[in-house]
């Protein structure tokens, strides 16, 4: 299997505070991987390190490329559109993505937008939290890349929208691509996960296949994840 993401000995400090240390992780092609951990565990930080938005020490390779500039052309991250004003229209954001990302597929975006019921004539300031999140998902998945990074796509949105987003992920994610999706609620995403990665104690505490967890421990992903915080599972 081709390695889509390979992280070796990654350490990250900010304001002299150690946030991640000795992170090692390899993800292969065609997987949906849940990045789990408590609030503040470092899930977002790890994603930002992969994109090059944060700068750590160690090696990060995406599809065999190492420099942040090269990595950026192989991954799509669910950024929060902070570079745009509130009065920017959704259609203008789409045009921006089409301009700056050669791999952005407008046709694919419009299919996703139709499925997620996004009104492209609205302004960003007029979008509800759920609608904004759907737009971010649609923009992220409309690119044709090897690695998709979705950072907590379900935070603060209703269960119907969550289901819609999960359906869109299943339907539009290319088969050969890998998706890393972070969340601290496991229930919704557990059924679609091939692997889980748990960030705990400033490093990767667990990286296991979902089927392996179910068959070996006899627990579902949610129970297994919760047991890590109760000390009920021997991770060795």
């Amino acid at each position: 299997m081709t390695d889509i993401l390979k992280i070796e000995n990654l350490t990250y400090k900010r304001n002299q505070r150690l946030l991640l240390q000795d992170v090692n992780l390899t993800l292969t092609a065609g997987k949906i991987v849940g990045l789990l951990g408590e609030n503040g565990a470092g899930k977002t930080t790890l994603m930002r390190l992969i994109t090059g938005s944060a700068q750590g020490h160690g090696t990060i390779m995406v599809s065999g490329t190492q420099t942040p500039t090269e990595r950026k052309s192989h991954l799509s991250f669910s950024e929060q559109l902070r570079g745009f004003n509130r009065n920017t229209k959704v259609a203008q954001v789409v045009a921006f993505y089409h301009t700056v990302y050669p791999d952005f597929d407008p046709q694919r975006f419009h299919e996703l937008a139709g499925f997620l019921q996004i009104d492209v004539n609205l302004r960003l300031g007029a979008l509800s939290k759920g609608m904004r999140e759907k737009l971010i998902i649609a923009l992220t998945l409309a690119r044709q890349v090897d690695l998709y990074l979705l950072d907590e796509p379900f935070s603060g949105i209703d269960s119907m929208s969550r289901k819609k987003i999960i359906s869109s992920i299943i339907q539009w994610m290319p088969e050969e691509a890998t998706l890393l999706i972070s969340d601290h609620y496991v229930t919704e995403i557990a059924p679609i996960l091939d692997e889980i990665v748990v960030v705990k104690d400033q490093t990767i505490a667990v990286h296991r296949a979902a089927d392996e967890i179910r068959s070996e421990s006899g627990m579902d992903i949610e129970d297994y994840y919760e047991s890590l915080y109760e000390g009920g599972v021997n991770r060795d």
């Binding site: 930002r48 500039t69 559109l81």
Partner: protein, 259 residues
């Protein structure tokens, strides 16, 4: 990788829109002031020209500030920093886009001047006849004009480049220093930059008065244009040095605002 043109278009978009908004507000101000002058019964052929002249300093000043704000936001917003483009190219494009917008604003200002001059053309023509220009200026007006335009543009670039320098250096400090010490460093950097800005402003003020004195009193014997280009050259060197440090900070330490 994203092409130069695509990044320029993306980085330029909001700056350009702000400049257009500024121009619309300026035109509105000119129209309202002119109408108000007419209502008070003080309208003359020169009213539109003097009103346009009066308002023109506002968009020039506000435009430079607005561009500076947008210019800096680009460095810490994921929307821009996730674009697959090398940092040196990204930094250069951002600076060039800011320059292009201020040139655009200046060209529009020139257009507004010309149109407003048409209203009081006869008065302005007779005023021009009465004015006497020293012969050495008359002969070298093209070079003089060009030199001053280049000086103003380079001055704007130094302004943006220095703001980026302060922003990126203080932002980089978060990698090395604890929060308290970072605050102290920020204060020190701000103090140094404010001091340098005041010094440079003083030097520029002295330079401007020296240029006008030399131009009008020296009978053309002094090579003031040459001195002007030396100043421009020094400022370009400053832009290059600050640029090199800024790109290094972007490559190694400056992070975007977290989600």
């Amino acid at each position: 990788m994203t092409s130069f043109g695509a990044v320029f278009k993306a980085v330029n978009r909001l700056k350009f829109r702000q400049m257009n908004l500024l121009i619309v507000l300026e035109l509105l101000a000119i129209v309202v002031t002119t109408i108000w002058t007419a209502i008070r019964g003080e309208y003359s052929n020169m009213t539109v020209f003097t009103t346009a002249m009066g308002w023109s300093t506002v968009p020039a000043f506000v435009g430079v500030i607005l561009i500076a704000i947008r210019h800096e936001k680009v460095y810490t917003a994921d929307s821009y920093r996730l674009i697959p483009v090398e940092e040196t190219k990204f930094y250069t494009i951002n600076l060039l886009s800011s320059l292009a917008n201020i040139v655009y604003l200046a060209v529009v200002q020139l257009g507004i001047y010309i149109i407003s001059m048409l209203f009081g053309w006869q008065e302005l023509a007779s005023m021009a006849k009465d004015m006497t220009t020293p012969t050495h200026i008359e002969s070298g007006w093209l070079l003089m004009g060009l030199s001053i335009i280049v000086l103003v543009l380079v001055l704007n670039m130094v302004f943006w480049s220095t703001i980026s320098f302060v922003h990126l250096v203080t932002s980089s400090a978060s990698t090395f220093l604890p929060k308290f010490r970072q605050g102290v460093l920020n204060i020190i950097v701000y103090a140094i930059v404010v001091f340098l800005t005041l010094r440079v402003s003083g030097l520029i003020g002295n330079g401007v008065s020296w240029i006008s004195q030399t131009m009008f009193n020296n009978g053309g014997s002094f090579d003031w244009v040459g001195q002007l280009w030396i100043t421009i050259f020094v400022m370009i060197v400053v832009i290059l040095i600050e640029g090199a440090i800024n790109v290094l900070c972007l490559k190694r330490w400056v992070e975007t605002d977290a989600n």
